[in-house]
């Protein structure tokens, strides 16, 4: 299926571009963190230790006024006292407002983002690519119809539509058992993992249009290629032509678009959870929303760290997308998004 030439091009481009290497490092690390979250996270991301709340990350110390009030001969006297809060090695990245370990939450947040990003993209591709290929190949009324419907669904910003649909259908979260925990390989970690189901469906419903556009564009140019006519002359049925000629030759731009989509969907998911519309609290966006309240009182790290994690993964994925685009030159630029 993937011809040797494609692999050669990829390897050649990879050797030459430092950015591609950086991208690979970033993405592979995020994937490992997401998959083996239970082993990597030092603490259970959901356990709250109020005593240990708002600890700064290692290397930073925080002076914090704490107001204490006590009964002094009948009246209530409030005193504000300076208190230095030192970072605690048990929580390298500090703790959030409820004393939950930032590092563990960030690690589990990776799992949410990647799952939503990948599943959403796969779902969108499975819907969009076949429709696009068929519309481009047959043309005529079906093609017109698709293009008009694509325009209509582009008219709805994904974020707005997502919020609307989540508001309507609710946050149908899908609870999945965590394989490592249920297999007893690790203890003390949450045994189940909640996947924001509505977000994945909504994202698929909205983003399939980008895949349909790309697939249609490819099909339009491929159907006049002589090897397609030759296949028809050999007696190949339309489905054989679509399956064994059109799809393999259209797969390059689709893969590049897929990387763009995964990155875009991660950003969308974090926005949704920031606004409180995601089905799970174990998400980077949700942590940023929590951290927002602590900005004015000086606990900057609660909002900052999850944001850096988002950038880490999205930059990695975009670098992989650039590497694929430069190596395979699919000619799609600017398509895709949220």
């Amino acid at each position: 299926m993937v011809s040797k030439r494609v692999v050669q091009n990829l390897r050649k481009e990879f050797r030459q571009s430092g950015l591609a290497k950086l991208g690979l490092v970033l993405v592979v690390s995020i994937i490992l963190v997401a998959v083996f979250a239970p082993f990597i996270a030092p603490h259970n991301p959901t356990t709250q230790e109020l005593g240990q709340a708002q600890l700064p990350p290692l290397g930073f110390s925080e002076t914090k006024e704490a107001t204490t009030s006590e009964m002094v001969d009948g009246e209530v006297v409030t005193k504000t006292v300076e208190k230095r809060v030192e970072a605690n090695a048990a929580h390298p990245l500090g703790t959030d407002g409820l004393g939950r370990d930032m590092l563990s939450r960030t690690v589990y947040g990776a799992r949410t983002s990647l799952m939503v990003g990948v599943l959403g993209t796969v779902f969108a591709a499975l819907v969009g690519v076949p429709i696009g290929l068929i519309a481009g190949y047959y043309g005529g009324k079906f093609d017109d119809g698709l293009m008009r419907f694509a325009d209509v669904s582009l008219a709805f910003p994904s974020l707005v539509l997502a919020i609307a649909l989540i508001g309507l259908w609710g946050r149908a979260a899908v609870v999945l058992p965590d394989p490592f925990v249920s297999a007893g390989l690790v203890s003390g970690m949450p045994s189940t993992f909640t996947l924001p189901g509505t977000v994945v469906i909504v994202v698929g419903l909205v983003n399939w249009v980008w895949f349909a556009r790309i697939a249609r564009g490819e099909a339009l140019s491929l159907r006049d290629e002589e090897y397609v006519k030759a296949a028809r002359a050999l007696g190949a049925s339309d489905s054989t032509i679509l399956g064994s000629h059109m799809l393999p030759n259209a797969i390059t731009p689709i893969i590049v678009l897929a990387t763009v989509q995964v990155a875009a969907i991660i950003l969308l998911e974090s926005s949704l959870s920031f606004l409180g519309f995601s089905g799970t609290t174990l998400s980077w966006g949700f942590d940023i929303a929590q951290g927002r309240n602590y900005i004015s009182s000086g606990q900057w790290w609660i909002a900052t760290i999850p944001g850096l994690a988002i950038m880490w993964s999205v930059i990695g994925i975009n670098l992989i997308g650039d590497w694929l685009r430069d190596a395979l030159d699919p000619g799609i630029e600017g398509e895709g998004g949220v």
Binding site: S3, D144, E225, K229, A231, L234, N249
Partner: protein, 498 residues
Amino acid sequence: MTELDLGDPLLQVQDLEKYYYEQDSFLDSLLGNEARSVKAVDGISFDVHEGETLGLVGESGCGKSTTGETLLRLREATNGTVTFDGEDVLALDNEEMEQFRRRAQIVFQDPFSSLDPRMSVGAIVTEGLKIHGLPATNPDVETAVDVTVEAASVDASQVTATAADDLDRVVDPENGVARVRVTLHETADGLKATLDDHGELLGVDVEEAGDGSVTVSVEVSASDRKIRRTRAGRLLERVGLSSDQLDRYPHEYSGGQRQRVGIARALALDPEFIVLDEPVSALDVSVQAQVLNLLDDLQDEFGLTYLFIAHDLSVVRHICDRVAVMYLGKVAEIGPTDEIFEAPEHPYTKALLESVPRAEVSEQGRRVETLSGDVPSPRNPPSGCRFRTRCPQVIPPDGVELEQQAFRRVMDLRDSVEGRDINPDNVRGGTAAFRKSFFEMELPREDVEVVEEALGYVVTEDWDAAAETLRERYESICETTEPVTGEERHTAACHLVD
């Protein structure tokens, strides 16, 4: 090139038409612009005889490739009939189409777009076989095994040989029988039989019954895929490539080699008729010669019938038995190659032959009388004879004594008036001045009057009156009635002839 003993026609094309419709989308009808038809092929008739190579020649836009593809129903014809070996191809249902596909194939022009870059050469050549589930056994082909006995301990009479009846999937039958030779010989551990060829695809085993009788049975042991790949290997060798390159990809081949793969693909289904759509136009001269020789050899070896589409006349002269010259969707002239090249009847054919530069010293500095203007657009082809807007031998109506050069300019003037291509301001500077500059030569008095009158109308921008004045005097038979090719062996669609 076979002598002109025309076999019976394998393919008969009668009034074939192929129109494309523009601006007929839902929105266009809303906007009130009616669908315009592009008459790419507008009534083509010709026959192709068994074992013959018919050339289809013409410049770009004449509809030759569209004709080739419509014949094989790669495009749906608007109307007309195409009979292949007695059956009307355009009316075949899916079942019959499958049979037709095996008997008629096509080779394309561009070596870089005629092979799927994602498929290996082996997959490309065997695709046809896979689609038709070949190689399938053909019930009315018998299979036979000849055993030659070299083992001392066994005498021939004792040996009975059985052949599986699907041997013909591997062994090509000769006069109805798929025959395999096996030799029986003595080895250390008993009798052994070995196949002379096809060893890697067929299996043979030997049983010695108690009473000394020996049965040798041969059947197909290889998988379908293996059989197909072997067949593809043989085809590649036949077209001049090496059979151990089945797993290489098209981008590892040169242009000439890719065309050979395209030819091997067409041969895989063992067709009788092949449409060659400009097979060598994209190749360099030296490689072109190699492929042309190959096509020649294959035609003799497999008795193939070719429809050879091209725009290079010297290639056509070399390879075709008969030639049909096409212009703007119609056949201008058709006949045996030598007669067409040595005694062309249609003015367009003459102009084509005249324009081709010869690779000889005598060509140096040769000034060619070229056709005026450009090929008109097939959206609204000229009325009557389509070549009249560029024809150097337009027939003036009787009563008009103008030599060809002057009459040609009159017709050009009429076309620009009807197309409103003249800027009235240029004429306002004086109709006589404009006339003199338009006609380099002097016109007889009578014609000067008519032209001046028409130019007068142009000044007042009364285009219809101007066109009418000129049409009244100069309407030629070429624009009123459309010339048609006759039934003779060498015929041209031109009033000069009939």
